[in-house]
Subunit: 158 residues, 3 copies
Amino acid sequence: MKQFISEISLETCGEGFTDLTNKINNWILKEEIEKGIISINTQHTSCSLIINENADPKVLEDLSTYFKSLVPEGGFQSHSTQNKFFPYKHSEEGLDDMPAHIKTALTCSSLSLSINKNKLVLGTWQAVYLWEHRYQKHFRKICLHAIGEHHKNQSPKA
Amino acid sequence: MKQFISEISLETCGEGFTDLTNKINNWILKEEIEKGIISINTQHTSCSLIINENADPKVLEDLSTYFKSLVPEGGFQSHSTQNKFFPYKHSEEGLDDMPAHIKTALTCSSLSLSINKNKLVLGTWQAVYLWEHRYQKHFRKICLHAIGEHHKNQSPKA
Amino acid sequence: MKQFISEISLETCGEGFTDLTNKINNWILKEEIEKGIISINTQHTSCSLIINENADPKVLEDLSTYFKSLVPEGGFQSHSTQNKFFPYKHSEEGLDDMPAHIKTALTCSSLSLSINKNKLVLGTWQAVYLWEHRYQKHFRKICLHAIGEHHKNQSPKA
């Protein structure tokens, strides 16, 4: 059993989703990890990792619109307190910053996945996304750490 | 240290909770995993894995009712945009489909748990549930992948 | 490769955040884990583990206020059902109990993180928090389980 660590660095295009599935699978192939457990983590507090539908892009649009409504800019109206408006206290870094921290708390920044036969064990309709919650583009780092067994090379070199 | 991989397949009864705790513990016993880390993953984007209360079934009823209200059918009213109604764009697969994807994003589809003394390390009131978000029953697959040590057999065979 | 298991026990101060980062890093140092994967889990269903901003305490205040509004005491008003009020059915353990279970479901009780160079791999602004959702102080147990390699001791004893 061996350990494998790497980091994905990428620039997001502002709020929205970057599919990491191929990037992670390519790394698994390059490192020749046949079978193992992988821990995937963002190094940030205003973007998330989620596993969601890979086919219809409208799912991602709806996720985005829904979360913008659930976690509004500037502050929120509390329906349990006579519709009182609560402005965010942490507001120095922009209207989209505190909502980004809340969206991160509502989703995940850590995933533990299975690797088998040299790729992530995912369902037919699943993809692993980095979800950028800030409006501007940002550089993001994702840590990949796997523990597992090397590929059994079945094609002997001539 | 060894690796252990398996898959749980089950049919859900429509929206609601299936307790996986015994199924997972039985697999751990069968595989004789004494101590290790287990990665548990659904292969789907409209059901979740959650750890929640195992005693009073009213907790699960309340969770279900709350999430149905938080993520309504058909679309949602945005209180940050003059109560404007936003219908989901992804609507071809039924009224409960897009809400199921959102509920999956709001919860988890990946868990990393500890195994010790041949069972999951859980608190007294914790159970691991598969939470089906679709209204109809569905076949669901959950991947179990553990890395750890074999059971030290303390009962010598006669 | 070795396994390392331990438990953090602490008393929370009621609803709010306890930074676990140093406690976990101290344990990693004491156990001399140079590189590995760690699974961190609460043993409870009314508190969470989250990774969020470590610098401005107002972020934690806003998180707390937002979640109290999102998951009100006593029950919730459903905007998809003519503002009908749904009291929680699970109400025997106090006004803050069912909201605590819901907040746990909306966040995480399980994290999988990377250890490298004898500490958690975290971004500059990230901390690991235990988020107590109950109003009163509670004793909480967090399980730490790592698989990895021992520290390569570079300072030979005289």
